[in-house]
Symmetry: C2
Subunit: 197 residues, 2 copies
């Protein structure tokens, strides 16, 4: 493409990142080459730093630079609530909203018979241990509203067996959402969960 081996290899690598394809990878690499001192070298340095320091929190599964992440070590966040999410990306999404003040538990996926993912692959036993160890009073299931997500939610509910209060995120019309564009399932859920004004 660029008639240069290293540059082509860099474009190939960038093109394999999720959300990027060959075209956007080429644009990104050209942009980086044009600003190689201002952008490319600092980006490469930072990647090395993060590659060397990033690790999974041994308690909740969040990604940070400590063996136990900031959220798990913060005493302020020990309010007896654990929010269960599928993925680190979901944890970050919850944190961006800034509303939840408890701790998290990242499952690392959902139960899936098709993909041979069972409870032990998902840190569900570890969740049950944490409920005892951290005096948890409420578990909030913030799993995706997919079939596998809901199967996982039911399995966790079975395992907890009423030991703590178990809640899940409300389902309904998203803020700013237009009814016309919503799928039938969401409208049904929103109608069933309707509230008295």
């Amino acid at each position: 493409m660029s008639s240069n081996r290293d540059i082509d290899a860099l474009i190939d690598m960038m093109a394999k990142l999720p959300g990027l394809g060959p075209r956007s990878a080429r644009r990104a690499v050209l942009h980086l080459i044009r600003k190689r001192e201002l952008r490319m070298t600092p980006l490469a340095d930072l990647m090395h730093t993060v590659a060397a320091t990033a690790r999974e929190c041994g308690n909740c599964g969040n990604i940070g630079t400590e063996d136990i992440c900031d959220i798990c070590t913060s005493e302020k966040r020990a309010n007896g609530m654990i929010c269960v999410v599928e993925d680190v990306a979901d944890l970050w999404a919850m944190e961006r909203s800034g509303v939840f003040k408890g701790r998290y538990h990242v499952l690392g996926g959902t139960l899936s018979a098709l993909d041979h993912v069972g409870p032990d692959e998902l840190r569900i036993p570890h969740l049950l241990n944490r409920i005892e160890a951290e005096d948890v009073t409420e578990v909030i299931l913030a799993l995706n509203a997919t079939v596998d997500g809901q199967t996982t939610a039911h399995y966790i509910a079975d395992q907890l067996d009423g030991r703590v209060r178990l809640t899940s995120l409300a389902q309904g019309v998203p803020i700013g959402g237009e009814l016309d564009y919503l799928d039938d399932g969401t409208i049904t859920a929103a109608l069933n969960a309707r509230k008295t004004l």
Copy 2:
């Protein structure tokens, strides 16, 4: 976002690349962190290599790792044709098609009164020198079909003043294009340049 400074800084940097936004940057960074040894470290290494070695070809303006790029040093490509492009990305696009076997000249933009870009900012004088020095017989203008691109084409035509054969890329219906989705200008151009079957 991730409650970690380095990771957040990395996401911010990635989000500034063209074609990426905050959401895709987060996905890309999470992907890299999960595969940090397999993907992130090699990517960072390669960025350092390219940042250290990439440079503009002193002759045509292509980006490579030598002072004069492979295309300019290859004797095979000294066929008397120079293809004039606005940008390195355009040069790479031409090379992907694999059809053009001559050399290139990257202008580095287009003439633009609004942005105060004159001929001297665009390596146009250098193009005129090359025409003498490299025994050029044909200059192909492969400039974008924008107002500024066409202004630049006219300016170059004036400067060459018939010294060499001057051609430009054909305009018309793109391969696989459907008339229904084409703009009026393209249809007009295709109609005016119609060919006898």
